[in-house]
């Protein structure tokens, strides 16, 4: 008896040591090949507006701050920061000993240079907005800098997640046309190696990275513009890491082959899909009509039909996992009867018996527009069309190529209703989308929403650094907007990445799986690209 206990104990100790050895000393080496449809435009981070450029820049560069796996703001190039009592000054204390990939030390001057480029009117950056609020940036010493704001602006803190660029390489360069865009030098975990246009971008690990050397030696970004090809490449081992469509996730990767060779993940993506009403339209000015449509459209059915269940119902404008999201706001149940009653109360009745409601001799018939090339949006519209027909509203669908869609229809407010998605930034400030002043041509409150309380709350939300205070403000905004239904909030699709099973150390957080990329590793025996 005692002997068995001893044996078990010995075994346990042995296993434990083994675990420590394996767990704490993952091997270096191997490469990860990711496949993506889009090609980055430029690797000058302040010019890059597309997600592909953002993904690569995120590995090469760092900001002063970043979001951790629980979506909390933590230091990156900044060791820490302080916000002054009055909220007008942020002081950043930078990390010691950080070097650019070429060996030059990183200093506060680099941050100053990046800031100056962002506000330079000759630089084609789309990100100048948040930095216009900065009154001055003072370099106190090599490791300390102070940012002074014109007024208290709490989203400003997260805007310092902007990737910092090296002054010694870019000062005096024309940033719009610099060769740096295809040969960048950063401080991040990976350094740039090569870019073959239309084929691939290759990065290699930065052994001197300030957190620690990443375990995976090479990062290869392959550009494969066709979703079907991408999937075949995944199946044959040509790529290791891609995002799946709901159909691929649910139906094509359930075989034994995929279960043995791949790991799949599922978490809410940073964005939601909605139908926005043109609130200048008298029909949609009536809250009862907007509420009726909310009852008439079955969101669960859309998620089942369009996303194969891989998504969740959206009730609002923030990431479901973030502190700003008000979990008390519940989505209304599908209830066509209730919708009919509300429409009747609003004066819409089918007087001539043709199945379509009328009011003052006008039929309730409107057009929903969306952009071309997004199958999910098209299918969503077809489901909405059918459900609204059941309550007596006729819907026409119009699909328009993106650029024309934006400049001719959205910017000029030529629509009845529009189906679109917002990608969400991690700070909950939504001033640009909901404030009543943001309704000029090309601005983002294109539905024309105006509510004094929301206006006031949006400004209050920007003027406080206290998360508790901000939380109650944004919870209230969430509540009001769901009550008022300027959008028909539809769904948050899931992100569906799939990764070759040889990669270990992946951790799923509220931010997804990419947050601890430098911890990912491949056991030596399973390494594939060993040169």
């Amino acid at each position: 008896m005692i002997r068995t206990i001893k044996a078990v104990f010995r075994k346990a100790v042995f296993l434990f040591t083994l675990l420590i050895l394996l767990g704490f000393r993952p091997g270096y080496g191997d490469a990860i090949v990711t496949g993506s449809i889009g090609e980055p435009r430029t690797l000058v981070p302040i010019l890059a507006s597309d997600s592909a450029s953002g993904a690569i820049c995120g590995l090469i560069f760092n900001g002063l701050v970043k979001y951790d796996k629980d979506l909390r703001l933590v230091g990156d190039l900044a060791r820490s920061w302080e916000v002054s009592e009055d909220g007008l000054e942020i002081t950043f204390y930078l990390r010691d000993g950080v070097r650019w990939h070429d060996g030059t030390p990183f200093t506060a001057r680099d941050v100053e240079f990046t800031y100056k480029s962002l506000i330079d009117p000759d630089v084609r950056t789309p990100y100048s907005g948040d930095f216009k609020m900065v009154k001055a940036l003072e370099v106190i010493d090599e490791r300390t800098l102070r940012v002074l704001y014109r007024e208290v602006f709490s989203p400003g803190l997260s805007s310092w997640g902007m990737n910092i660029m090296p002054r010694h390489l870019l000062e005096g360069e024309d940033l719009n046309n610099t060769g740096f865009g295809r040969d960048p030098v950063g401080t991040g975990p990976y350094r740039f190696k090569s870019w073959k246009t239309g084929e691939k971008i290759e990065l290699i690990s930065n052994h001197d990275y300030f957190e620690h050397r990443p375990y995976i030696d090479r990062y290869i970004y392959r550009i494969i513009p066709d979703q079907a090809t991408l999937f075949l490449e995944l199946r044959s081992g040509g790529v290791d890491y891609v995002s799946l469509t709901p159909l691929q996730f649910d139906r094509q990767t359930e075989s034994r082959f995929f279960k043995e060779n791949f790991q799949k993940f599922k978490f809410p993506s940073f964005g939601y899909t909605y139908m926005g009403y043109n609130l200048k339209d008298p029909r949609f000015q009536d809250l009862k009509v907007r509420k009726a449509i909310n009852y008439a459209v079955n969101k669960q059915e859309i998620i089942r039909g369009v996303l194969l269940g891989l998504g969740s119902v959206a009730t609002g404008l923030f990431l479901p996992e973030s502190w700003a999201y008000n979990k008390a706001v519940a989505s209304v149940e599908y209830d066509p009867e209730r919708a009919r009653i509300l429409l009747e109360e609003a004066g819409w009745l089918d007087r001539d018996g043709d199945g379509i409601l009328e009011k003052d001799g006008m039929k309730f018939s409107f057009t929903i527009i969306t952009n071309q090339g997004n199958e999910q949006r098209r299918m969503t519209l077809e489901i909405i069309q059918r459900r609204l027909k059941e309550v007596g509203i006729e819907v026409r669908i119009k699909i328009i190529e993106w650029s024309a869609f934006v400049s001719e229809f959205i910017d000029k407010r030529r629509f009845d209703a529009v189906l679109l998605g917002w990608s969400l930034s991690l700070d909950p400030d939504m001033y640009d989308i909901w404030h009543s002043s943001k309704t000029k041509e090309g601005e983002f409150n294109f539905v024309g929403y105006s509510n004094h309380e929301i206006d006031r709350l949006l400004i209050e939300g920007r003027r406080s650094f206290d998360q508790k205070e901000r939380m109650s403000i944004y919870h209230r905004i969430h509540e009001i907007l769901y009550e008022e239904q300027p959008y028909l909030f539809l769904y948050v699709p899931d992100s569906l990445p799939i990764l070759n099973a040889r990669f270990k150390g992946i951790e799923v957080g509220a931010a997804g799986i990419g947050h601890n990329f430098i911890e990912w590793h491949v056991p030596e025996t399973e390494q594939k690209y060993t040169r």
Partner: protein
């Protein structure tokens, strides 16, 4: 002859000029702007920033001024820089032309090598079983959607049998390969795309060839050749083929501009960085300098191709006189 070519070349200049005006106007009048960028709105990108970017691109100037600016640069053979990544237009086109040209040349050679014999032999055995099955074969190639065939072949050859790579033009380890390995690697990558595009193009050439050949074989001089006791092989390949090839020469001349034009669907499926994807991407991004560059080069090649077709026709067929 030289005077004729010279006169034709001079005549091309106003034509090309007219083409640039029309294309410039058309692409700028199409709705949309290069600042609309991504297919998802980002609320962090303010309208002010978009306006500022438009100003830096010179898009707030009147259209005719923009055209004159473009024309001034064009006369110095400067096509400007791309709005998307700020690289010179000529460089962007230059790095893609060899790939598209290579694939198109390979597939045209394959088409000629297979299509001409099919056409000739079908004509000889006109309306027989062989002729009909060849007709069926080439029309199947013509009718099958290229993207569908590509995906089926990729799944079969690339995934199930695993003998050819699925997409791209080089392996990931290409740079570490020796010279011959590199050549084999490229051939392996291009095998499927070249095969698929050649299969689709067989019908055209073989049908032209067949009908020319059928026509020629009915001529008096063929009867004469046979009557004087020449072997059938000589009759067909020496006397008939030469004459039947004439119209094919014209077709070749006319297909010159097509050599640098790539197909978007095809290039996307095989993820080949060719001209088709460049052009499509530029149109979607309203990248005006690149669109103009591709169109002007295409127009120039079309005009030159027509001229070349006329000249070569004259060279191979003495009956044709190049008078105005």
């Amino acid at each position: 002859m030289v005077r004729y070519i010279f006169r034709r070349l001079i005549g091309l200049i106003p034509l090309l000029f007219g083409i640039t005006i029309v294309t410039f106007m058309v692409i700028h009048l199409a709705p949309g702007r290069p600042t609309d960028l991504e297919s998802q709105f980002n609320p962090k990108v303010s309208m002010e920033a978009r306006e500022r970017i438009a100003h830096l691109y010179g898009l707030d100037k009147p259209l005719h001024i923009q055209y004159i600016d473009w024309l001034k640069r064009f006369l110095r053979l400067d096509f400007g820089t791309s709005f998307v990544d700020s690289r010179p237009v000529l460089k962007k086109i230059g790095e893609r032309i060899p790939i598209t040209l290579g694939i198109n040349l390979a597939s045209i050679i394959l088409i000629l090598l297979i299509g001409i014999p099919i056409g000739v032999s079908s004509a000889v055995k006109e309306k027989g079983f062989y002729d009909r099955s060849m007709t069926l074969f080439v029309f199947i190639g013509f009718a099958i959607p290229g993207f569908w065939l590509s995906l089926i072949l990729m799944d079969l050859v690339g995934v199930r049998w695993g003998i050819l790579p699925i997409s791209g033009i080089k392996s990931l380890e290409f740079d570490k390969f020796g010279f011959f390995e590199k050549i084999i690697d490229i051939i392996r990558h291009l095998a499927l795309p070249v095969f698929v595009s050649a299969f689709g193009g067989l019908a055209g050439i073989s049908r032209y060839m067949r009908s020319n050949m059928v026509h020629v074989l009915r001529q008096d001089y063929i009867r004469t050749a046979r009557a004087k006791g020449l072997r059938e092989k000589d009759v067909i390949y020496k006397h008939a083929l030469k004459n039947a090839l004439l119209p094919v020469v014209t077709i070749m001349g006319l297909s010159i501009p097509g050599l640098i034009g790539g197909s978007v669907i095809f290039e996307s499926i095989f993820s080949i960085p060719g001209m088709g994807r460049l052009f499509y991407g530029s149109v979607m991004a309203r990248d005006y300098p690149v669109i103009m560059g591709v169109l002007v080069i295409g127009a120039t090649l079309t005009l030159l191709g027509n001229l070349l077709a006329d000249i070569s026709y004259r060279l191979v067929d003495p009956r044709i006189k190049l008078e105005d």
